[in-house]
């Protein structure tokens, strides 16, 4: 008896996610119809690969936002992690483990600091991570204003390598999103993230360790952002201090298009995946119909406003 009406409940709860994916499918079909170049599997694969970097950063941001916070330092974490890895690798394969460890270590340290600033010092997340953004950007530029270091061949080859015909990058992506989905939906920790973001007081009364949960969300966010910085290095070969400048806005765009509420407590990993793919395909679409990048920004802005308007209407009803 209890399963009656299940699909209906599911659709209601997943409405935002479904909206993001509908947008993606629409965009995919539109590009396929309008652009001949797009119709080759290679271009589609390239587009997917292009979405890994932003996608990973967006997933990082998802964990903080769904728990009711925000992390503005995410772009600079990726920058520093990429620079550190490039410098330590210095073009040599044997340095890869050290470089990877250092890059992720950067993420861990920043995440712990962000987490403490928010939960212990009790600075508003927006301000705390905004400060961190500046600190890290300052560190990056004072180290070098020019690209530094050099990725090792085995490392940057990941971008082109494939296993049994499937690009390694796509395998990484599938694995990564699988883990994120698992954590968010199949674990108690995931439920607690939603609960803290949804109604922190009620979560506390239910016995959820709310400060611990939001602290953890910042650590996860920074570590995953650092991993995204590493991944981007496979494509850029060198560590660039201005890598993160645009990343922040792009990730927040992906998170919003993916249907995550910036007030916390609502949204899904699958939605964020959809959101980051929408951005990648939108870029591809504008490339293929040869419209300049500024126009693309305008369209992205309109999409965000339209989606937020739709969500808002749903809330009112």
């Amino acid at each position: 008896m209890r399963s009656v009406g299940w699909p209906n409940h599911w659709v209601k709860r997943q409405a935002r996610t479904l909206l993001a994916w509908s947008l993606l499918i629409f965009l995919f079909l539109l590009t396929t119809v309008l652009s001949e170049t797009f119709r080759s599997p290679a271009v589609v694969t390239e587009t997917f690969k292009g979405a890994t970097f932003v996608g990973m950063a967006a997933a990082a941001e998802f964990f903080v936002v769904v728990a009711g916070g925000i992390d503005l330092s995410i772009g600079s974490v990726a920058t520093i992690s990429g620079m550190a890895a490039a410098v330590l690798m210095n073009g040599r394969d044997q340095n890869i483990p050290l470089a990877v460890a250092a890059a992720l270590g950067v993420g861990l340290v920043v995440g712990v600091i962000n987490g403490l600033l928010v939960t212990w010092v009790k600075i508003t997340p927006f301000v705390a991570t905004f400060g961190m953004l500046y600190v890290l950007q300052g560190v990056a530029y004072s180290y070098s204003v020019n690209p530094v270091g050099q990725a090792a061949p085995t490392f940057y080859n990941l971008y082109e390598d494939s296993i049994a015909g499937v690009p390694v990058l796509l395998l990484v992506m599938v694995g990564f999103w699988g883990i994120c989905w698992y954590v968010a939906t199949q674990t108690a920790f995931g439920k607690h993230l939603y609960a803290v973001g949804g109604e922190s007081g009620a979560a506390r009364l239910a016995g959820v360790r709310t400060t611990r949960v939001s602290f953890a969300s910042y650590v996860i966010c920074s570590v995953v952002a650092a991993a995204a910085g590493l991944l981007e290095l496979t494509q850029t070969y060198v560590g660039t201090p201005d890598l993160g400048a645009t990343l922040l806005l792009t990730t927040i765009t992906a998170v919003v298009i993916g249907g995550v509420s910036l007030f916390g407590g609502q949204g899904s990993v699958i939605g964020v995946l959809g959101g980051s793919l929408v951005l990648a395909f939108l870029g591809q679409f504008f490339d293929s119909v040869q419209v300049n990048a500024f126009f693309q920004q305008l369209i992205e802005g309109l999409i965000i406003l339209a989606l937020l308007g739709i969500y808002r209407q749903r809330v009112k009803r």
Binding site: Q186, Y194, A195, G198, G201, G265
Partner: protein
């Protein structure tokens, strides 16, 4: 109840919030298969005790014993020991499903942190069935009725093997059939051996439900007896009688000019429209329990939340009250209950807060004159005895009473002066000295010819200040008492029993009068 048999006992609990005493030497036992009612007026300390017994707050002194052993309670610890609670305030996550909420903080898992969805689904369904709740597990809690939410909270406690269940005033948010359903569930739980602590200030339901009643007054236990040894009269008598101290009475208002006439104001569905008049120079008390509709009425008069229908007349002319600026223009000022959020901008200086409602008067060609603003603030601080008498300190640094004086001052310095002033709990959280200064301000208001509507949960205050009192219950005005007729017992009886009682009294020949 002897201590060995009690599941949970409070022993000599003390709790202060700032300088205000919430609980003093409170002891209470909850036994197995017992429904224990905790009653008392608003602010008697009931909710504080609940918070302490569920680990949400820490007592200053005293112990909570579980199974005869002292326990250091946190929310997690309380739950482990089998203490569950159904709160009045939202303690469910609206955006999550019923299933997720039932198991929040209690998730069942396999290894690797993987959730055992099948088991949770089964247990939640069983718990809901147990209490006869037909609620789908995948429903978002936001879409449930208040009664269903309470059932979800009960199911949550059952799933967590609670042996003691605390209900924090379910009747404040439920009524009729829905409340009856919760009562049946509570009785069913008792028959399974659970200990129930039932908080309420509605006395009729105590007699329907409880085995034992403990009465709190001003944070102290004044009685704890089996219900069958108590009568309604006893309970009312035990609850009232708080001291306010001596206070000179104002001469009674002349009541020769009506400044405000409220005609059939509709405040909500299934509520009777409300009508009354307010005279110049009169203090009209509005008494009633929390949730009786007093604040809703204040918000309607202030244009904060417009009424659904009905007309308000000012000096005989109908006025539109769709937004706060309408009310200001009509000379009606509503001073809200939540002064920290709705009455003041805490981070701004006393001067800025005082001037906020008078900026237009202080400006020439769109520029606010700093000099005029300072003059206004300095005078107001002197007249309203704000301490410290500084105008450039942040308002948030003042004590509660002085903050309230700033709120009052903001409206009272405004020209032209408001003829109708509605005060919603003006002395809540205010120390005794400041209370009297606020009473003096009210006297000053009526002396200059304004009509004042005073909403207060403190009956002695309502009685001492008002020329007339309207008693509200469940959104309706259930009685009007003139100065000579005012007593705490009469007000409380109307507020608690509502009109039902009047009917019963007139039919039964006034046996309870």
């Amino acid at each position: 109840m002897n201590v060995e048999r009690a599941l949970v006992s409070a022993r000599g609990i003390y709790k202060h919030y700032g300088g205000i005493r919430a609980l003093a030497d409170v002891s209470l036992d909850i036994g197995s298969a017992e429904i224990h009612a905790l009653v008392g007026e608003n602010g008697a300390g009931k909710s504080t005790l609940v918070k302490i017994m569920t680990g949400a707050e820490k007592q200053d002194a005293g112990q909570v014993m579980v199974d005869g052993r002292e326990a250091q309670l946190t929310p997690e610890k309380a739950r482990e020991l089998g203490i569950g609670a159904v709160y009045q305030e939202p303690s469910l996550i609206p955006a999550m499903t019923v299933l997720e909420n039932v198991f929040l903080g209690w998730e069942q898992r396999f290894g690797l942190g993987l959730l055992d969805h099948r088991r949770m689904r089964r247990e939640a369904a069983a718990a809901l069935d147990n209490i006869g709740a037909r609620i789908h597990l995948e429903t978002e809690v936001a879409t449930l009725s208040v009664a269903d939410r309470q059932l979800v909270e009960i199911a949550r406690a059952l799933v967590q093997q609670a042996r003691v269940l605390i209900f924090d005033e379910p009747s404040a948010v439920l009524s009729g059939v829905e409340l009856e359903r919760i009562f049946n569930v509570i009785k069913e739980l008792r028959s399974h051996g659970l200990g129930i602590l039932y908080i309420s200030h509605r006395l009729a339901e105590i007699f329907e439900l409880a085995d034992r009643a403990t009465v709190l007054k001003d944070g102290r236990v004044v009685a704890s007896r089996p219900v069958n040894e108590l009568t309604m009269e006893d309970l009312i008598h035990l609850m009232v009688g708080r001291e306010i101290g001596a206070r000179h009475l104002r001469p009674e208002a002349a009541r020769d000019r009506i400044v405000l006439e409220v005609d059939k104001l509709a405040l909500g569905q299934d509520r009777e429209p409300i009508s009354f008049e307010l005279h110049a120079g009169e203090v009209l008390g509005l008494a009633g329990l929390v949730g009786s509709g007093r604040t809703r009425l204040a918000n309607a008069l202030g244009g904060i939340r417009p009424a659904r229908a009905g007309v308000v007349f000012r000096n005989g002319r109908p006025v539109r009250l769709k937004r706060p600026s309408d009310a200001m223009r009509a000379g009606i000022v509503v001073i809200p209950e939540d002064r920290k959020r709705e009455g003041l901008i805490l981070g701004h200086s006393v001067r800025e807060n005082l001037a906020l409602a008078s900026l237009k008067e202080l400006s020439t060609i769109g520029m606010v004159s700093a000099k005029a603003e300072r003059r206004l603030a300095s005078e107001a601080v002197k007249v309203f005895a704000v301490r410290p008498p500084a105008i450039d300190v942040a308002t948030g640094t003042l004590s509660g009473g002085n903050q309230q004086k700033v709120v009052l001052g903001k409206w009272l310095v405004r020209k032209p002066s408001a003829e109708v002033v509605v005060l919603d709990e003006p002395t809540r959280g205010v120390d005794v000295g400041a209370k009297y200064e606020i009473y003096n301000l009210i006297d000053a208001l009526v002396a200059r010819g304004s009509g004042v509507v005073l909403i207060s949960s403190e009956l002695p205050e309502v009685i001492a200040m008002s020329d007339r009192v309207l008693v509200m219950s469940a959104g309706n005005i259930v009685g009007e008492l003139k100065r000579g007729e005012l007593s705490e017992e009469r007000i409380l009886r109307l507020a608690v029993l509502g009109r039902e009682h009047e009917l019963a009294a007139s039919e039964g020949g006034g046996d309870a009068a």
